[in-house]
């Protein structure tokens, strides 16, 4: 609402108010990144990876997440249920928004927990067409924002916000030179995205649907269906959540390497 007034003012007056608009846009983006950070969750997920020839590979997982004390980073434990040859494989991801994340994998065939070093935020998130940055969220303060337009998407009023990296380093680390985000005005959920690669070529499209207010008390929302498509190689990922539950009083010892080896 502030934004509209600011915009109206910006049309009539001068620069200082545009800065005010900037501030508010960053705010909106920040809110959109927090809207799906639930206290904890348990869920079943089906990952469908589709290549350019339309061939599919399906993985089923059971996942548990818990927000860390800082309220930003998540701990995520994912157990693979199918296909059979990877059943029992567990991944544990401890996000560190300040630095490199920690990731461990338990491989039942080797009966060992192995540590993975995830080198950067631009690489694929567990083999999907989402990058770590896309899933965990790009640091709000590192990007410049601009309101491109306001429009309806999936029947909801949205701000269409353009984000551009403030520095070359941010561009290189994220792999993006430009992002367009559709953020719903009613609940701040980012329901669509389009990305351009470092060379300025379109590279990805996201679409989040089947939105559910999973924690009405805290105004937390989650999309039950997440789609991402790499438009350069026509590879596509669809993540479908089921039995998504929040506030399950998930214990911290779920997120230890010791626990991964169990069963």
């Amino acid at each position: 609402m502030n934004l509209r007034i600011a915009l109206l003012a910006a049309f009539m007056t001068a620069a200082p108010l545009v800065q005010a608009a900037d501030l508010n846009l960053a705010d909106i983006v920040q809110k959109s990144q927090m809207v799906n950070k639930v206290v904890d969750s348990t869920s079943n997920a089906t990952f469908t990876l589709i290549n350019k020839n339309g061939q599919q590979r399906v993985q089923k997982t059971y996942g548990v997440s818990k927000l860390e004390a800082n309220g930003v980073d998540n701990m995520r434990m994912t157990r693979f249920m199918a296909p059979a040859d990877v059943k029992g494989t567990v991944s544990l991801l401890i996000e560190h928004s300040a630095g490199d994340d920690d990731m461990w994998i338990y491989m039942p065939a080797a009966k060992k927990v192995r540590r993975m070093v995830s080198s950067d935020k631009r690489t694929s998130f567990v083999g999907t067409d989402f990058s770590y940055g896309d899933v965990i969220g790009h640091k709000v303060t590192e990007w410049n924002y601009k309101l491109v337009r306001e429009e309806q998407a999936d029947g909801a009023d949205c701000w269409v916000i353009e984000a551009t990296p403030k520095s070359d380093k941010v561009r290189e680390d994220s792999g993006y030179s430009r992002r367009l985000i559709w953020i719903r005005k009613d609940n701040f959920f980012a329901i669509q995205g389009e990305m351009w690669d470092e060379a300025g070529e379109p590279v990805k499209k996201f679409h989040m649907t089947e939105l559910k207010e999973v924690d009405p008390a805290r105004h937390k929302w989650q999309a039950m269906r997440l789609e991402s498509e790499n438009t350069q190689n026509s590879h596509k990922t669809v993540i479908q959540f089921e039995n998504y539950k929040v506030n399950q009083k998930v214990r911290d010892d779920y997120f230890t390497t010791r626990y991964m080896e169990k069963e």
Binding site: L49, N51, N53, Q55, Q56, R57, F80, P83, D85, V86, T89, S91, M103, W104, I105, M107, P108, A109, A110, R114, R115, M116, V117, S118, S119, D120, T123, S124, V126, G127, T128, D129, E172, D197, E198, A199, G200, E201, N230, Q232, N233, H235, T237
Partner: protein, 784 residues
């Protein structure tokens, strides 16, 4: 027939007008002609090597790869002069339309990953995120390359003095290969400097040259036509003698192209030389009719009582009435022979058959309509021209010498022909089939040297694609299959060609799984092997996928892990060698894969060439045999004699033997281009014999003695044959000067050889055989 020609002459303006309209229509339709420069049109699509290559391309991509090598003038690749260029060229190529981004491979490409063991696990990261700045960073890159052998000899040479960028282009055949090479050159040219040397190679680099060198035909063809005209002028010494055969030939080519355009039959670059054949055949018929017209004109004039104008009209009628049916027979025989090629599987051969057939039919129609109409309008030859034409010159001396030999020394003729045939057959046995596109060009051309450089410094610029097909999903994760693939790779790497390793590099999923197994065991070399547990392999792959990109392995395995692609880079593109290699590889792979349910299929650039060889050895020869058979059958039917069929076939056989003999003795390869030339020889050879046989029959029926008939026929129809053969040989001799482009050189020598051999075979053998066997089909008129 006389009534028909009379009708044509009465309505000559209408005939000429119609011809102009049809020609204009043909030219307008020629704009609809689709020109396809797709090498696939040359390939037998159902051949297993070709089918596999297509399958590999569909699932994995990888046919049109350009290799850019960067070598510093001093030192190794670990310097900003080299790596900076690799990075800039890679990122520029990423933004180039047509480039398959996900298959781009270089040190800075996203999918080039360093798999490294760490004390408590594994790290997967890009090989070179940015150009190293410090000695430590260079050392890191070097170490990464050393621990990931998959990249050695593909994007970095063994001596680490050359870095390479492998860029794949989407298959858009009709856009042309120059579009690919131009795009790469534009980017590379910006990076050229004194400090580094660039070498560019790969299949598109050759195919783009085939395109540009083939375009020389655009100016060589007119020169050839001009030379043909000059020779004809020297032969007839009249403007008419030079002009009319060329008009027929050029219009026939135009009609042929127009019909192809209107019917939507695509033309391909490999048929760029086909107009020559039409030109040769059309000119051949035109010269025969023209020569006959001269004879008749002076005969009628000498009888007296008619004006030159009337004599002209009568001569036109008489010449067509007598030679027209002969031409129709000869033309239809040849056209049917060519049309019969539509049964062939290779598109380019079908196009060749249809195009030539249409061209010949067009020439027949023109000679029966437009040319007589036009000739009746042209001033008849003057007495002066007649004197020049009838002066005894070299042509006549040759013909009378032949007549003398045929009448008096027939045994020598047969002995000579037999000796020639035997010599030709011996040469034929030495013919080597090889479809290497590298042999199309002179060895000393710069791009040949660039390809040789890349070939010797990297794995090899020729590929063998091995497709492993499992029964079910995840078959490729089966340790049995992976072990077999591993063994096959090692087997290939041990092969030698001319004493040196034949395979410079093999790459497959095996390399990555071995590498992961090793890095998960703290880089212990003892674990540089395929694990024996299917689940462990699956879990490694899942693990990799968590830090790699979804498309990283797309060029090695399909989505279902049912198909795996193994690539072997070969130093040689000899299709003979590859056939011997495949003969060894197939039983080896069968044994290794036994019990796994998986099977091996072979494809790739070199096997495709081998496939082409196989279809050519069996198919192209068959194709020549087929035209020959059609010629034989129709000639036998026309003359109602098998002997006649054989006689027509003989000069054509001699021409084919001579062509193959020439290939054998000179080491010229039998390839698609040269086999087309040989098929041309078959088409041209029959005409001479048919004209000679008909004329002999006519003159013997007129009551001439055998010796006189032979002398007369050789000095008239025979002389016309010689004119045509010499004109076409000399005209196409001009292609010998297409410097650096062997295809043109070969074509010139083969066409000239075929022309000369078939004309002299016909001139010597047809009269000799007639005199020896006195066949009924020649002598039947005598009995009346």
């Amino acid at each position: 027939m006389r009534g028909y020609i009379g009708w044509i002459l009465r309505y000559r303006w209408l005939v000429i007008g119609l011809t102009v309209v049809i020609t204009a229509l043909a030219i307008s339709q020629a704009r609809n002609l689709r020109i396809v420069i797709d090498p696939n049109t040359m390939l037998p699509q159902t051949h297993p090597y070709v089918a596999t290559t297509n399958e590999v391309e569909k699932v994995f991509g990888s046919k049109y790869i350009i290799v850019v090598g960067i070598t510093p003038k001093s030192g190794d690749i670990y310097q900003p002069d080299v790596l900076g260029r690799v990075q800039r060229i890679t990122s520029a190529l990423m933004q180039t339309p047509g480039v398959v981004k996900e298959n781009l491979l270089s040190l800075s490409a996203r999918r080039a990953k360093d798999i490294m063991g760490t004390p408590d696990g594994m790290q997967v990261s890009p090989l070179m995120r940015e150009v190293p700045q410090t000695p430590e960073q260079y050392a890191q890159l070097k170490a990464a390359l050393h621990r990931n052998p998959a990249y050695m000899n593909s994007i970095v040479s063994q001596d680490e003095k050359t870095a390479a960028i492998l860029v794949e282009f989407r298959d858009t055949p009709n856009a042309g290969f120059r579009k690919m090479t131009d795009a790469v050159n534009r980017i590379v040219d910006k990076e050229r400097s004194e400090a580094v040397q660039f070498n560019i190679g790969g299949l598109p680099s050759y195919l783009s040259r085939v395109e540009s060198y083939s375009e020389r035909m655009g100016f060589l063809l007119p020169i050839a036509i001009l030379l043909v005209g000059l020779i004809l002028f020297e032969a007839f010494r009249t403007f008419q003698g030079m002009f009319l055969p060329l008009v027929t030939a050029i219009l026939a080519v135009a009609w042929g192209i127009g019909t192809m355009g209107a019917a939507g039959i695509p033309m391909d670059a490999f048929n760029a030389t086909t107009p020559i054949l039409i030109l040769a055949v059309a000119a051949g018929h035109a010269v025969q009719l023209l020569k006959r017209y001269y004879e008749e004109y002076f005969r009628i004039l000498d009888q007296g009582g008619v004006t030159p104008h009337e004599a002209n009209r009568l001569a036109v009628i008489e010449s067509i009435a007598r030679s027209g049916p002969v031409m129709m027979v000869a033309g239809i025989v040849a056209a049917l022979g060519f049309f019969s090629l539509v049964v062939f599987e290779i598109t380019t051969v079908r196009t060749f058959g249809i195009f030539t057939g249409i061209g010949i039919v067009a020439a027949l129609i023109l000679e029966m309509t437009f040319i007589p109409a036009l000739r009746s309008l042209i001033r008849p030859p003057s007495a002066r021209e007649r004197n020049i034409e009838q002066r005894v010159r070299v042509w006549d001396r040759i013909e009378s010498a032949i007549a003398h030999i045929v009448s008096n020394h027939r045994r020598c003729v047969y002995a000579g022909a037999a000796a020639f045939a035997v010599a030709g057959l011996i040469g034929m046995s030495m013919v080597v089939t090889n479809n290497s596109s590298k042999t199309y060009f002179a060895q000393d051309l710069p791009f040949q040297a660039e390809d040789r450089f890349l070939n010797s410094h990297l794995g090899g610029t020729n590929t063998l694609a091995l497709l492993i097909e499992g029964k079910d999903q995840d078959a490729i994760k089966d340790p049995k299959v992976l072990h077999a693939m591993d063994d096959i790779q090692r087997f290939l790497e041990q092969q030698t060609y001319e004493g040196k390793p034949a395979v410079g590099k093999t790459v497959s999923m095996v390399d990555f799984i071995r590498r992961m197994n090793q890095s998960m065991h703290g880089d212990d070399p003892a674990y540089d092997r395929i694990p024996d547990d299917h689940n462990l392999i699956a879990q490694y792959l899942l693990l990799y996928s968590m830090s790699g990109e979804p498309g990283d392995f797309d060029s090695y395995v399909d989505n279902d892990y049912r198909l795996a692609n193994m690539t072997a880079y070969l130093k040689t593109d000899s299709s003979a060698y590859i056939e011997s290699l495949i003969a060894k590889l197939e039983p080896y792979a069968r044994e290794k894969l036994a019990g796994s349910g998986a099977s091996l299929h072979i494809g790739g650039s070199v096997p495709q060439a081998a496939a082409l060889n196989q279809t050519m050895v069996h198919g192209k020869i068959l194709n020549i045999v087929q035209i020959g058979a059609v010629v034989f059958i129709i000639s036998s039917l026309v003359f109602r004699s098998l002997l006649a069929g054989l006689m027509v076939l003989l000069p054509l056989l001699m021409a084919v033997i001579a062509n193959f003999g020439l290939m054998g003795y000179t080491g010229m390869y039998l390839n698609i281009s040269n086999s087309l030339s040989s098929a041309m020889a078959v088409g041209i050879g029959a005409d001479y014999a048919i004209y000679l046989i008909f004329r002999l029959r006519e003159e013997i029926a007129n009551g001439l003695s055998e010796a006189d008939a032979v002398r007369l026929v050789l000095s008239t129809a025979g002389k016309a044959c010689l004119f045509v053969a010499v004109a076409i040989s000399v005209g196409y001799g001009v292609l010998m000067f297409s410097i650096g482009f062997n295809i043109h050189f070969w074509l010139a020598s083969l066409i000239a050889t075929a022309m000369m051999v078939s004309v002299f075979s016909a001139l010597f053998l047809i009269p000799s055989l007639v005199l020896t066997f006195r066949p009924k089909f020649v002598y039947k008129g005598v009995n009346k």
